[in-house]
């Protein structure tokens, strides 16, 4: 989901249609903008994917913000320089560290499985997908929430530490479950150590795929899958030599070159409506 700054105060009080016991209205009082968007995205995903009756108690949470806390830190630095040590808020560290979003999601959903933050800057999307799928597979969890957040565009905050006008808070939540327990039509596959067959992807497309894998690009890949009403569709994101992720929608044809066509990628809508993503068999 994408939220303009003007909608943020209301979302902070009511981040979504909460399951069970309502959250206290002060729950997100000190949270970062990205935390608000991330938790709201999780609630939206629960409802969009029909997961209201799912018990998340033993799930894991892996959250990858991008430059979490830049606006708050800008304000805190100025205050520190004028007021000294006593001017530093005790909320700064708990709510602007890499693990802050995963901890908040864990608390909100009463999730007792592992929670941790991933990445934090460029490259965070690939990092969190690798970490979450490995945890899901090896630590035998019933599911993992992957939460990605950023400010878009990433701009300099103002002197008071507010994000610049026109900035949107973006939150994207993926519910990963093992393929053996899910019938979702979208599957996520991580391949490491096996180079992709060069003949399947044109060189210029390969370069395009490899660069700039960020949250908006993942949104676009998911949008592409959702726009396909029939047929097997596989979109591939190369990460580095020998590593890639694949998003597969079950149906008919299977084409790497479908996603390798630059014109097709440029036409993608930047907005994604999320469904459930399932880890494919290795």
């Amino acid at each position: 989901m994408r939220v303009g700054l003007e909608a943020l105060p209301e979302l902070r009080r009511h981040p979504g249609p909460v399951r069970g016991e309502p959250l206290p209205t002060s729950f997100l009082k000190h949270a970062d903008e990205q935390t608000v968007a991330g938790l709201a995205a999780v609630y939206k995903a629960i409802h969009t994917a029909g997961l209201q009756s799912t018990n998340f108690r033993d799930w894991g949470v892996a959250a990858a913000p991008r430059f979490l806390g830049r606006p708050a830190m800008a304000a805190a630095l100025q205050r520190f320089q004028t007021e000294g040590a006593w001017g530093v808020s005790p909320h700064l560290i708990p709510h602007r560290s890499l693990h802050s979003i995963s901890g908040t999601v864990s608390q909100a959903l009463k999730i007792h499985g592992p929670n941790f933050g991933v990445g934090g800057g460029p490259g965070g999307v690939a990092e969190v997908l690798l970490a979450a799928t490995a945890m899901l597979e090896c630590q035998k969890l019933p599911g993992v929430w992957v939460v990605l957040t950023c400010l878009d565009p990433e701009q300099a905050p103002d002197q008071a530490g507010k994000p610049a006008e026109g900035t949107q808070c973006v939150g994207l939540a993926l519910a990963l479950t093992p393929i053996r327990t899910s019938g979702s039509r979208i599957r996520l596959r991580v391949v490491c150590g096996t180079p992709v067959r060069e003949s399947l992807v044109a060189s210029e497309a390969r370069d395009a795929l490899r660069s700039g894998f960020d949250l908006p690009r993942l949104e676009a890949l998911l949008r592409l899958l959702h726009s396909e009403s029939s047929g097997d569709t596989r979109v591939v994101q190369l990460l580095d030599p020998g590593s890639r992720i694949e998003l597969l929608q079950t149906g008919v044809t299977s084409l790497l070159d479908r996603t390798a066509a630059p014109a097709r990628q440029r036409s993608l809508s930047p907005q994604a409506d999320l469904g459930q993503v399932v880890l494919a068999d290795r």
């Binding site: 802050s100 933050g117 460029p122 945890m135 300099a156 490491c192």
Partner: protein, 405 residues
């Protein structure tokens, strides 16, 4: 004998307030030396807590240009030192391009630390997002010429255990042949010292720095921050045997559960932490009675140490009376993101030297922390199985079990 797919530690790189090599760290740890002192790097006259376990200058590794190294942020210097040291120690440094080496590191607040250091030096980087184009872990991978995947993780003070678990996962999945894993932190900065101080989490025993970190002692009044890191080389037992590599230990068990209670305050319900410990022991195929040494999380806070003691009593039952336990934070300070990694290192020292590191400053044990303490002086003991607890903000509870090989 370990199964060929078991994951072994075959290399170590470190820098801590107790020394910048594994040998120095071990010597000072077993001598019961405190690495805590008054903060020297910046003015602390207005900080509520004015003490920390500090690193001096991070040593520049051989083959690295000293001027280039000096331009790096201290956290990145530390990463570079630890990663290169671990690769050299393992024997992989010269052959690092022949295999797929991954990198999983606990790094909790990279960008906050970068922006703060820049601002205090007169810069405006927090207002210049166009400058933030590459993460430290990505650059470390590129500069070292590694070809495996990378991930930076944070579960606050439990990050090192999470990183080790990730590396073990990647090895099991065959995503990497070898993996660097551990954690680094340079959190002793003016703003972080102030932030934790204003949170009232830190000791204010400023007049007696070496006596300030006193886990399980009745007079404890908060934790003492510290800088440092430890990075390990992990590979399969089969790979290590084929190379004839030195093996420090097997990464045998891991458990992780969340409180889902509060971002800062530990849950009054011990069940999530108990579940993490049980999960780690099950994963390692151990019973509580098999454990020869527990490295406690115990940070020296009034609430946290009691909570951990309750967890251990519940999981270990009668065995808690005879399983030796210590908190090495009494000597290093609390290294936050790096704490779990450095405490895993302390377990390796205990195994290798057949000696239990002590909890120093433990003169009046809190009766609510009634455990089998290794108080004030190291004690000889054979250690085959060591367990290390690490808990963190965000409600993370983790436990690591290491076995001698």
């Amino acid at each position: 004998m370990s199964h060929p797919s078991a994951v072994w530690i075959t290399g170590v790189g470190t820098a801590t307030p107790l020394g910048n090599t594994y040998a120095d760290f071990g010597n000072h740890l077993l001598a019961g030396r405190s690495g805590v002192d008054r903060v020297q790097r910046f003015d602390v006259s207005e900080h509520p807590s004015q003490i920390a376990g500090q690193l001096g200058e991070v040593p520049c590794p051989d083959e690295v240009d000293t001027e280039e190294f000096a331009r790096l942020h201290r956290l990145e210097q530390l990463m570079r030192w630890c990663c290169m040291g671990a690769l050299r120690d393992s024997g992989w440094w010269e052959r690092r391009r022949e295999v797929r080496i991954g990198l999983a590191l606990g790094v909790g607040a990279e960008w906050l630390e970068v922006w703060e250091a820049d601002a205090l030096a007169g810069g405006r980087r927090v207002w210049q997002p166009e400058l933030d184009v590459e993460s430290m872990i990505g650059r470390t991978r590129r500069v070292l010429g590694l070809t495996g995947p990378v991930v930076s993780v944070s579960a606050a003070c439990a990050s090192g255990n999470v990183a080790l678990a990730q590396a073990r996962n990647w090895l099991e999945l065959g995503w990497v042949d070898v993996c660097l894993a551990g954690a680094c932190d340079m959190a002793v900065t003016p703003m972080a010292l102030a932030g934790f101080g204003n949170l009232r989490a830190l000791s204010r025993r400023n007049a007696e720095p070496q006596a300030a970190s006193r886990p399980f002692d009745r007079q404890r009044d908060g934790f003492v921050m510290g800088d440092g890191g430890a990075v390990f080389v992990l590979e399969s037992a089969g790979s290590a045997r084929r190379r004839g590599a030195r093996a420090y230990a097997e990464v045998a068990g891991y458990g992780a559960r969340s409180d889902a209670f509060n971002m800062v305050i530990p849950s009054p319900d011990p069940e999530p932490a108990m579940a993490a410990v049980r999960e780690a022991l099950d994963d390692a195929g151990c019973n509580p009675g098999d454990v020869d040494y527990i490295n406690a999380h115990a940070t020296s806070t009034p609430v946290g140490d009691i909570a951990e003691a309750r967890v251990l009593r519940a999981v270990f039952g009668a065995a808690v009376e005879r399983v030796p336990i210590s908190s090495t934070k009494s000597m290093t300070g609390h290294l936050l993101t790096a704490a779990a990694a450095v405490e895993a290192l302390a377990c390796l020292v205990a195994m290798e030297r057949s000696a239990l590191p002590p909890t120093i400053n433990l003169h009046e044990p809190d009766p609510e922390c009634n455990l089998c303490h290794v108080a004030n002086e190291a004690r000889p003991a054979k250690v085959r199985v060591a367990m290390s607890n690490s808990f963190g903000f965000g409600g993370s509870n983790t436990c690591l079990v290491l076995k001698a090989v």
